[in-house]
Amino acid sequence: MKDATRIELGRRYRFAASHRLHSSQFSEEENSRVYGKCSNPFGHGHNYVVEVSLSGEVDPATGMIANLADLDSFVEHQIIEPFDHRYLNEEVAAFHETVPTTENLCIEIFRRLQSFPKAKLERVRIQETANNSFEYAGDNQLEPEGNRP
């Protein structure tokens, strides 16, 4: 029975941060054409919701893929503390050269969480607003294998 199913754990986190979409490769006109009001030099902010998906064996002793207290403190340390109430362009080294679109934010957060030692990171999904969301799975499948009809 154990091999008939596959379990993933999903956990949501929140942080608020500001950013500006602006590329040094583009002229000012190109920046405002490509990024529109997201290129406003003073920046703007979002309440980001980050959904983290993990897979692994459910430990029969605990009933868990990973202890939530371990996951929460890892995410707190890797993501919340360095990102929450920050200006991403200036205060997160990864975005000094890379435009902090939510696509790139997904990739950076995936990279930071990949070393979680207790379970396998499957996917990161970020809601930038209630209407926009982005997903990144590195080399994993975006859709779980067992999920394919």
Partner: protein, 140 residues
């Protein structure tokens, strides 16, 4: 292929305790979820079925039938129950989101005859959920 999802909500009590752990270990591993008096959640269950719409009815499966299956298999077993004591399928297991999702999958899977059960997602709170899938191999 079309995916169809139905959502239901139920409320239940539980606590986490492994009799093979010492009291200190139980508290360390399970934190406040170890409180022997139990606590409760409003669970949200999303059940997704995959299939081709029947040309005659336009349906993957009759939602009324799915609703009855969910009522019988999940609501009657789990709604307003204590998951540690009143659900035999969970006996001997810690009633975490992961384990409850798998128990629900195993209850529903044999009952769905039109389409195939695709995913069971169980939310314990808006910020915590477990997904259960068929552990299929990748199509060649």
């Amino acid at each position: 292929m079309v995916l169809l999802t139905r959502k239901i909500e139920f409320s239940a009590a539980h606590f986490y305790h492994n009799p093979e752990f010492s009291p200190e270990e139980n508290r360390r591993v399970f934190g406040k979820c170890n409180n022997p008096h139990g606590h409760g959640h409003n669970y949200t269950l999303e059940v997704t079925v995959a299939g081709e719409p029947d040309p005659g009815t336009g349906m993957v499966l009759d939602l009324k039938e799915l609703k009855e299956i969910l009522e019988r298999e999940v609501m009657q077993r789990m709604d307003h129950r204590h998951l540690n004591y009143e659900v035999p399928e969970l006996a001997g297991q810690i009633p975490t989101c992961e384990n409850i999702a798998r128990v629900i999958w195993n209850l529903l899977e044999p009952k769905i005859h039109q389409g195939k059960l695709h995913r069971v997602r169980l939310y314990e709170s808006p910020d915590l959920y477990a997904d259960c899938y068929r552990n299929g191999s990748r199509p060649l």
